[in-house]
């Protein structure tokens, strides 16, 4: 009888310690699941905590779930974090050690960022809320050159970084937003040869992994330790060199970008 009660208790505990990990759908769910199931397996082995991988079909759906506090843990972009932190009190506890830099590209080697020159020109961006490729360039151009792209120029959101690069090369737009990594991966030689990086933003902290306040601190601490000690082969799958220990304050700089809820 004691044994039975013990088993039940263990089971209840097990159910109780089962956590969900919501991942932003930057890639297809299948690709994501392949990468992240390795991670959850590793974490369970390392900590004994059962973690369920979750993602959504689209970013808006993900945002909806996130802002409703549906995930216990979540990997999201910095912009999502600002909002999630504000609405659901998510707290960041680890992130990849690299920083995010946004770029602007043109067919011209040098671009005059004066208001006169940019006014009425067409800007290409992958999506309205793309953090590095859209939000960072828009923010800094406004900061540095006092030019509000949304108000004073034409903006086309062309769905992907590659479409931005191709669109600039094919004279669809004058300036386009992107990031170093996707630009380096862009292989269409005809188009790439015509492009030049004309502006780079300051470095900003990359995608955080945050926890919902209902998760207890001990568990978070265990997980934080496990992430930092993650073996290289799993990290390689995530294209991450190292995980570092952080707290939410690091993203205060993002709040300045004028993110709206």
């Amino acid at each position: 009888m004691k044994k039975v009660i013990l088993i039940i208790l263990i089971a209840v505990y097990a159910i109780a310690t089962e956590l969900t990990l919501g991942v932003v759908p930057q890639q297809s769910p299948l690709k994501l699941s392949k990468k992240w199931i390795k991670v959850t397996d590793y974490l369970y082995k390392e900590t004994g905590i059962k973690i369920i991988f979750k993602t959504e079909k689209s970013i808006p759906k993900f945002e909806k779930e996130l802002y409703a506090g549906k995930y216990d843990l979540s990997y999201m972009n910095p912009y999502h974090f600002i909002i999630a932190n504000k609405t659901q009190k998510y707290e960041a506890f680890t992130r990849a050690d690299k920083n995010i830099v946004g770029i602007l590209l043109s067919k011209d080697k040098k671009v005059d960022f004066s208001k006169n020159n940019l006014k009425g020109k067409t800007f290409l961006f992958p999506a309205p809320n793309a953090f590095a490729a859209t939000l960072l360039p828009k923010f800094e151009v406004n900061e540095k050159f006092n030019f509000n792209i949304d108000k004073e120029a034409n903006v086309l959101y062309v769905n992907s970084h590659d479409s931005v690069y191709k669109g600039i090369s094919r004279d669809i737009g004058f300036l386009g937003g992107g990031i170093i990594r996707t630009y380096n991966n862009f292989v269409d030689k005809n188009d790439k040869d015509k492009l030049h990086i004309v502006y780079k933003t300051k470095p900003y902290p990359s995608h955080p992994i945050a926890y919902h306040p209902k998760v207890d601190k001990q568990t978070v601490s265990k997980l934080q330790k496990a992430f930092i000690n993650m073996p290289t082969d799993i990290k390689n799958r995530l294209s991450i060199k190292n995980f570092i220990k952080i707290n939410s304050n690091e993203y205060d700089i993002i709040k300045k970008l004028g993110v709206k809820e």
Binding site: L156, V158, S163, G167, R170, I172, D188
Partner: protein, 604 residues
Amino acid sequence: MFFIVLIVSINFVTINNSSKQLIKEKIESNISFLEQLLIVPISVYDLATLDNLVENTKKQVYINSIVILDKQNRILSKVYDYAHLSLNELLTIKQNKSISISSENYEIRIKQMKEDESFIGTMYIIFDTSESSKFIKDNQTKTIFIIIIEILISTILAYFIGSRLTNMLTNLTQAAKDIGDNKQPLIPYQDKKDEIGTLSKSMNKMQIDLKTRNRELQKQKIVLEESNRYKDEFLANMSHELKTPLNSIHILSSVMAKNSKNILDEEHIKNLKIITKSGDELLLLINDILDVSKIEAGELSIELQKTNITMLINDLYDTMKPIADKKNILLQKNTFMEETIISDSKRIKQILQNLLSNAIKFTNQGVVKLNTTQDSKNIIVEVIDSGIGIPLNKIEHIFDRFKQVDGSTTRKYGGTGLGLCISKELSHLIGGELSVISQLKEGSIFKLVIPKKPIISNISDETIKVTTSTNFESLNTDKVELFEDEKNIKKEKTTIYLNNNNPAGFFSLIIALKKVKEIELVQIKVLDELLPQLDKDSLNILILDIDSKYLDISKLINSNIKLVALSSNAKHTENIDLLIQKPIDNTVVIKAINKLKEGYYGKV
């Protein structure tokens, strides 16, 4: 072959059309599908997706090039492999176009794309249909090749089958000919199951049927021949049997009509003359029938001798003159240089007499002319009358047996209708020809051509012989003496004894024998009368009818007397020196007597 080509041509056209239709549908479906895929990327300038779609679409082998322009005609995306136009040249084209360059075929399509009725861009797409065209062309070549092979094979097959069939048909034709030639060939191919087999079986059955029928016909022929022979014999016998009593009637009535003893009155004499005349007519009729039956039996023969045409014509004229006079018809003859030919005078006379009697018969008033001429080869005798003439449609039939111009002719003019038929046959027999020209109501000209020398090829050997005389007038002529002209016969007197146990039968013979100078005729009633009278130094001949009743001739054996027996059945011929078949023919009997003088014995 024509139909094969026709069917294949139709097939080609169908394949071609359906293939073109398929290509068209494929192109249309590709374009509309691609358009649906492209609308969103174009409208948002998602060039990466656009490139991706275009490149993936281009992987289809039948798509040569795709160029996408936005609404401002900027090139958004392109894959351009088309070698026959530069990209700029392509963009000047505003309409769909089919291009065929040597073995390559292209379809250029231009599609204006719209989203919610607003123009968002243009798609140029070039389809490479060379493969389809090549497929059709290959198919065409293959089909033509197959047709040629097929035609070749069928021609060869048709040749072999045809020649085999021809061969079989030739063999069957030969078999049919053989059957026709009364041979009995073995019909080939009867074991075959096809039409040829059926034909062979039918031919075989026909051959068997034919054989059976031939046998039946042969039997019937024998029966018919036999009955015909019986008929001929009967007819000949009957004629002879009829003639004998008629002769008696004729002679007796004519003798009586002379009324030499002045015991008959006018009435009796008149009646006796009617009897004589009727007898004459009856005899003529019987002679005609006898002649016809001989013609039918092919037994009519001619007797070639020196014939003086002038004498013959004169005789004839003398004979016919009284008859013409009676009808008040003028009978004329021309003068003709005396001419002697080798022919049968009796037959010539028979023909001419018949023609003359017809001419007189069918002429009611006017002239009947007997016109005799000659050329180097022939004597031509024309009998010209001014009588009723012969209608044109009847003239070809007048030499047919029993045919006068119409049935009423016989009733009106009398006659058997046999005369001209007999005359025609007789004219052929002497190697001549009898023809007629006539005009209705104007008269007729009958022309007898008599060859001066008989053309032997026209006369069969059998017909050239000494033969019987069947003419009544032969009794009144010196005919029998002709033998003496021809043959070198002993001229000493011969005593003929005639056992006259049949006075009517022997009547005509007695008259004939009495006319022969070298014969002394002694009639006896019974054989016993004979022996004492026999002259031992001269030839004694006894003529007797052995059918009448049994005669004991044994007593006569070893006496110097020759026995000439007359019989119809040739029985009891022992001890007979010479048997003469009945009916009694005077000439035959006289000839037999001459033969006996030369030492001939046997049967005549």
